[in-house]
Amino acid sequence: MANKVVLHTPIKSEDIENLKIGDIVYLTGKITTCRDVAHRRLIEEGRKLPVDLEGGAIFHAGPIVRPIEGQENAYEMVSIGPTTSMRMEKFEKDFIPQTGVKLIVGKGGMGQDTMDACQKYKTIFCVFPAGCAVVSAVHFKKIIDAQWKDLGMPETLWTSEVEELGPLIVAVDTKGGNLFEENKKTYKKRAEEVYEEIIPHVRFIK
């Protein structure tokens, strides 16, 4: 691909502030899986996150990992893909400034609070194609850390080295752009039109 944009961790504000919704980027460096309970522990329970995310990347993902035979505390990434990011919406506006995270990877869009935080603190939210967990897993070179394993396989903070993980489609940029919120307005309008088209044909109760 021409002009393939690859972000490297630690990510700086100037690396991402010119990206806009719909742009496609790739990630090389470190990424940590982080979802519901880890967010809740930091924001609501006040526990310190056991991973340094300054300039870092998180993946809203609960992967399938398996132990590497013959090695202690060594794991292999089998399948990994994004989960519903909207579940983290209530936490992300506080999570971003508290951790210094620069890239959030997930699916299905995020809301106004995350949009505001992305603009204020220069962070982006990108979508990795959901359901494509093997395309993703082959870019995971090594799992280098596992924290909060008491949460079970999906919720553990798995930190991995990745090489050109992508395509990551920018869905919330640093300028207030939000791809899914814009699309949703169009979908709602079309749904209303479709409703008017369908109802004359389904008046079965007479």
Binding site: A130, V134, P154, R190, A191, V194, Y195, F204
Partner: protein
């Protein structure tokens, strides 16, 4: 064969079949995705369909689950009263789920409610879920297996409409879920709609609708017409793969129905994501099996 040996045989087959369905899509879904990809004209949607195809190829080659969210297993059983393992079936499906969890491997997706811990083996109180249909005077057993991720489980919704709202109300109910929760539910997805009396009857039908092969139609001509209207209508919304816009939104719309109380229309919607991991297997009384969902599958 002793009963014990029979149970072991069927458990092993089911564990392998469940593992296989985590890695390979059923033939009808694979064909439909190919068809949608070929018709697609929007650039971002084309890229996403290419990624989907690459993922399915890699999953098979590398023998890994194609999506990390392998769901909470559900089994829809149609069991003959004379099937020799009718009494053992529920127990052996639970055991097959544990076996598949470690052999495949599947993600650990059973969190005990209230105690809030992950059992680490995909079984827990009431999971996997087994839905029964008993068939008199038959000695065969048909099983639909299904794993749905959290993303396409989320739009699930049921309510009871007043008859004055009519099928217009049913239409509105379905369309609303499409633009609110649809983009996140991994389109192009399969939409299951249940029309009955109450929330639980409609909800179960909406999930059973997802077990029907793509391209099948409700035998009632009006219900079939409504399937077509909704399919065309939701496609016009143009959600595209990942809800990032495209020429289509759905793999299909399936409606299942029963008679209703005169004062109520129960309606429910359920979604199966593009990575629709359904399997269908039939056992005879000697435990010879036929897989109808995946032609040429080798376990």
């Amino acid at each position: 064969m002793s009963k014990e040996a029979q149970v072991k045989q069927m458990t092993d087959i089911m564990a392998k079949f469940v593992g296989y369905t985590a890695k390979v899509l059923p033939d009808d879904v694979a064909a439909k995705l190919k068809e949608l990809a070929e018709k697609e004209t929007v650039p971002i949607a084309k890229l996403l369909y290419e990624t989907y195809a690459k993922n399915q190829k890699l999953a098979k080659e590398l023998n890994r689950p194609s999506c990390q969210d392998t769901g909470v297993l559900q089994y829809f059983v149609k069991c003959g009263t004379n099937f020799p393992l009718i009494g053992e079936l529920e127990g052996l499906l639970k055991e097959a789920t544990v076996q598949a969890t470690f052999a495949t491997p599947l993600r650990h997706n059973s969190v005990e409610t209230f105690d809030e811990y992950n059992t680490g083996k995909n079984v827990g109180k009431g999971t996997p879920t087994v839905f029964w249909e008993i068939v008199p005077d038959s000695d065969t057993c048909e099983i639909d297996t299904y794993m749905a991720g959290g993303g396409c489980t989320l739009p699930g919704h049921a309510m009871v409409l007043m008859p004055g709202e009519g099928y217009e109300g049913v239409t509105k109910f379905v369309l609303e879920r499409m633009y609110t929760y649809g983009p996140n539910a991994c389109p192009p997805f399969l939409v299951g709609v249940g029309v009955a009396t109450s929330v639980e009857t409609a909800a179960l039908l909406s999930k059973k609708a997802l077990m029907r092969p793509l391209g099948s139609h409700n035998p009632n001509p009006r219900a079939a017409e409504m399937e077509k209207l909704l399919e065309e209508g939701i496609n016009k919304m143009g959600l595209g793969p990942q809800g990032m816009t495209g020429s289509a939104s759905v793999l299909g719309v399936h409606i299942e129905n029963t008679a209703r109380h005169p004062s109520a229309i129960g309606v429910a919607v359920n979604i199966g994501c593009w990575n629709h991991r359904r399997g269908h297997i039939i056992f005879d009384k000697d435990l010879h099996y036929t897989i109808t969902s995946h032609k040429g599958a080798e376990l």
